[in-house]
Every structure is written in structure tokens, then in C-alpha cells.
């Protein structure tokens, strides 16, 4: 197409061009497009993950001095890790839809002939990725600064608990972020809505992690807490998936 193609004079009607039939993308292709965009924007701005990671490491340093202890174990260690991860995650939750709200991303998406649930899935996956990177930084920092028992044997169990916890945070965080982003007090509202909903995730995560951080070195996390976390993720995943379309509506 030439930019200066022979345009009819103003007011002169052109022939209606033949419209190329376009097949709307499926759910997977839409999620893929949105996720790629999401990660690209984060890579360019570095607005979420570095802040989350720095917050977590700083919090561990504060705990280190505030508790006046070189090491913690058991319940206390698990509690410190999960509460720190929760607050760090809230920073990411609050930023999740900001670029879309401020730069017209919502409108651009809503004009496309795509399944709106794709945005929920892409955002939840992006948040999951941010949490994984956060934990790549935070867990070694925690082990170095505070944790008494070594992580070696308990690492596979810890990874399983973190994965289930992250899933819950990603699902609930995405739902809450979509609710809060269109309000003026979005930073406050996001945290106020997310924290109560995420308390069960923190309880489940901390209870499942505590035996892994004990001096006696449990072989794995307790199954009932893993099951609790899994069920909570599933229930909120279904609720969020069902509600998300309505949150995008006018």
C-alpha cells in the first residue's frame, strides 16, 4: 500500500473495498498475545518485580535486626517467609492493571473480537511469573539472612508449597486488581481487598512450610495443608474466571 496512493478528492466516494475475512484468535492465542505484551512491558519498565524483590530482601533484613536473632526456625520462620511474600506480592498486584488503565489497554482489548477471560488468564500467569522471580531472590535471601536449618532436603517440599500458594495469590490478586484499578484509591483498595482473601493462603502456606523449617527436618509438607491450598486455589480460580468478564463491562 502506498501512503500517497491516489486518493479521491474530498467528498468523492470511493468503491467499498473488499474486506478480507479475518478469523478471530482463539483463547490460547489471545492469552499468548496478552502474556507476551505483559512481560515485554514489565521488562521495559521494571516496575513490579524489582520492587517486589527489594521489598522482600529489605523486610528480611529488618526482621534480622528487629528479632535480634541470627536464625529462626519452625513456625516463626514459616510465618516470616509467608507474610513477607504476601506483602511483596501486594506490590505486584497493585501494578498489574495500571498500564492498561492509564494507556488505554482496556479499550484496545475490549474492541477486539476475543474471549475476555483471556485477560484474566494472561494477567494471572504474568503475576505467577513475577512471584516465581520474586521467590528466586527472596528464598535464598531468607535462607542466608534468617533461616536456621539448611534448605537442602526440604527444597522440593518448599517448592510444592510455594507453587500452590503462588497460584492462590495469582488468582485472587488478579481478581482484586481488576476490581480496584478503576477506582481512585486503587492502591489502598487493592491491598484492603486482597489481604483478607489471601489470609487462608498465608495460613495454609505457613502451616505447610513450618515442618520443613524445623530442626528435625520433616520429609515433606503435611498433605492436608497442601490439599487445603489446592482446594482454595480451585474455588477462587473458578469464581474469578466466572466474574472477570463482568469486571471489564461498563
Amino acid at each position: 500500500m502506498s501512503a500517497r496512493a491516489e486518493a479521491p478528492a474530498l467528498g468523492e466516494r470511493a468503491e467499498q473495498p473488499a474486506r478480507t475475512p479475518v478469523r478471530p484468535p482463539g483463547l490460547a492465542a489471545t492469552v499468548n498475545a496478552l502474556l507476551r505484551k505483559e512481560l515485554l512491558v514489565e521488562l521495559r519498565t521494571l516496575e513490579s518485580v524489582p520492587g517486589m524483590s527489594l521489598f522482600a530482601v529489605t523486610t528480611f533484613v529488618v526482621f534480622h535486626f528487629a528479632l535480634n536473632r541470627n536464625s529462626v526456625e519452625g513456625d516463626l520462620a514459616a510465618g516470616i517467609l509467608w507474610v513477607t511474600l504476601l506483602f511483596a506480592a501486594i506490590l505486584g498486584v497493585n501494578r498489574l492493571f495500571v498500564a492498561d488503565a492509564e494507556e488505554g489497554g482496556f479499550d484496545g482489548f475490549l474492541l477486539a473480537p476475543v474471549d475476555r477471560s483471556a485477560m484474566f488468564l494472561a494477567k494471572a500467569l504474568a503475576l505467577l511469573a513475577y512471584l516465581a522471580v520474586l521467590e528466586l531472590v527472596a528464598v535464598p535471601a531468607f535462607a542466608l539472612l534468617l533461616l536456621g536449618p539448611s534448605l537442602g532436603q526440604s527444597l522440593p517440599g518448599l517448592l510444592a508449597v510455594l507453587a500452590l500458594g503462588d497460584l492462590g495469590v495469582a488468582v485472587i490478586g488478579t481478581l482484586v486488581a481488576a476490581l480496584a484499578v478503576r477506582t481512585r484509591a486503587r492502591d489502598l483498595l487493592g491491598a484492603l481487598l486482597a489481604l483478607p482473601l489471601l489470609v487462608p493462603v498465608v495460613i495454609g502456606g505457613a502451616r505447610a512450610t513450618a515442618p520443613l523449617f524445623s530442626l528435625t527436618h520433616a520429609t515433606g509438607p503435611p498433605g492436608r495443608w497442601l490439599l487445603t491450598l489446592g482446594l482454595y486455589d480451585l474455588v477462587f480460580g473458578l469464581i474469578a474466571f466466572a466474574l472477570f468478564d463482568f469486571l471489564l463491562e461498563d
Binding site: 478480507t20 492465542a29 494507556e103 474492541l111 473480537p113 461498563d250
Partner: protein, 225 residues
């Protein structure tokens, strides 16, 4: 069947009526130019037609589909160029267009074709935040027509564009494109030259609706007094 059919359309924001009792019909391939002072309801009208806002009263049919019930059927057939470019500032023009192309199931060749068409191929890899307003508007035009929409909704489409850039985008969004268009304008002579039909809005109400041939520039100017 008309491309647009509005009967008693109303839309309010809280207590404020942004649009009230708007009725008109626009045939396929024709251009409706909407005039009116700031806050008259022009942009709200475009957003209702784009399915981004629900009509609160009246009947609205766009490309044969009733809104809001059948909004899904017209998404992807509408191109919106509003005040916001709908581009991510941290991404380049090419990345933005590729993203929208994927959402509309359009191939990447179309992206390159449009970057050439709006003379942005040379700056296509630079973040949108580093581009001038005119350049951003050219990329926004490319975004709006990326999926070859049947209905173009254009809110002051030539704002921020220099005369050369206006000529550049005219084949894409001007009369030459041949699509049904709704244009919001503050330029009586330029707007009338593009119009088949004219709608004048004031405080959300219809002050004028007529064929372009029946409207004088003075009547448009009167809307702004």
C-alpha cells in the same frame, strides 16, 4: 439495512446526562460528522457505538447488531480512533501494532504495510513515549485500521497532524477508505466536506441532524455560540 440506527439513545454518568434522545440512521459507506462544543457528548456517542459504553435508554443497532446484547458480534468490525491512542507507551510502534494484530487475528505483513503507509517504518522500533504527538497519532491511525474495520469511529482524527501527515493518513481514514465513518470534528468547513450527514450536539441533545447538503457552515458555527 443501515450501518447505524439510533432511536432515543440516552446515556448518563450518575446524575449527568451525557446523551439524551439521540436518533438517526446512517447508510452503509456514508460518513456522519458530529459537531458540538466540548462536553456536548460527541466522545460518549463514539464510545457507545464502539460498544465500550452501554446505552442506558433507547435502541442502538450498529452494523445490524443490537447493543449491548449483540456487542460481541460487532467487536472486531469497528475501528476506534479516540483522544487516547490506545498504545502502550513503553512498547514500540511495531510492538504495539503486532499486539493489536494478534488480538484481531491479522498477519504481521499488515503491520509492516501500515507502518509504511503512515511513514513510521523508520521509527517503528522506538518506544511510543519517545515519539512526537503527531507520530503517535499516525501510529494510532494504523492501529485503528489494522483489521480493516467496516465502521470507523474517529474523534478529531487529524488533531496533532501536520498537513503532510494529514495527506498521509487520508487514504486510510478519509473518504477514500470507503468505509462507514462517524467523525467528531470542530472544523465546520473541513467536516462538512467529508460529511454525508451532519449531527449537531449540545449538552448531550440533538441540535441539528440533516444531510450535509442541507447544512450551512453558519448553522454549525451556531452550535458553538
Amino acid at each position: 439495512m443501515p450501518a447505524l440506527l439510533l432511536e432515543g439513545l440516552a446515556r448518563h454518568f450518575g446524575e449527568r446526562e451525557a446523551l439524551s434522545d439521540v436518533s438517526l440512521s446512517l447508510a452503509e459507506g456514508q460518513t456522519l460528522v458530529v459537531f458540538g462544543p466540548n462536553g456536548a457528548g460527541k466522545s460518549t456517542l463514539l464510545r457507545v457505538l464502539a460498544t465500550l459504553l452501554r446505552p442506558h435508554e433507547g435502541h442502538v443497532r450498529v452494523l445490524g447488531s443490537a447493543l449491548p446484547q449483540e456487542a460481541w458480534a460487532v467487536r472486531g468490525r469497528i475501528g476506534l480512533l479516540g483522544h487516547e491512542p490506545l498504545l502502550y507507551r513503553q512498547l514500540s510502534a511495531r510492538e504495539n501494532l503486532r499486539f493489536h494484530a494478534r488480538l484481531h487475528g491479522v498477519g504481521e505483513a499488515r503491520v509492516e504495510e501500515l507502518l509504511e503507509a503512515v511513514a513510521m517504518a523508520g521509527r517503528a522500533s522506538e518506544p511510543v513515549r519517545t515519539l512526537s504527538r503527531g507520530m503517535v497519532q499516525r501510529v494510532a491511525v494504523a492501529r485503528a485500521v489494522l483489521h480493516d474495520p467496516e465502521l470507523l469511529l474517529l474523534d478529531e482524527p487529524y488533531a496533532n497532524l501536520d498537513p503532510a501527515a494529514v495527506e498521509l493518513v487520508r487514504p486510510l481514514i478519509g473518504a477514500a477508505c470507503g468505509h462507514t465513518r462517524v467523525i467528531c470534528s470542530h472544523d465546520p468547513s473541513g467536516g462538512l466536506a467529508e460529511a454525508d450527514m451532519v449531527l449537531g450536539l449540545r449538552d448531550g441533545r440533538v441540535s441539528l441532524v440533516a444531510g450535509a447538503g442541507d447544512v450551512e457552515s453558519d448553522a454549525i458555527a451556531e452550535l458553538y455560540r
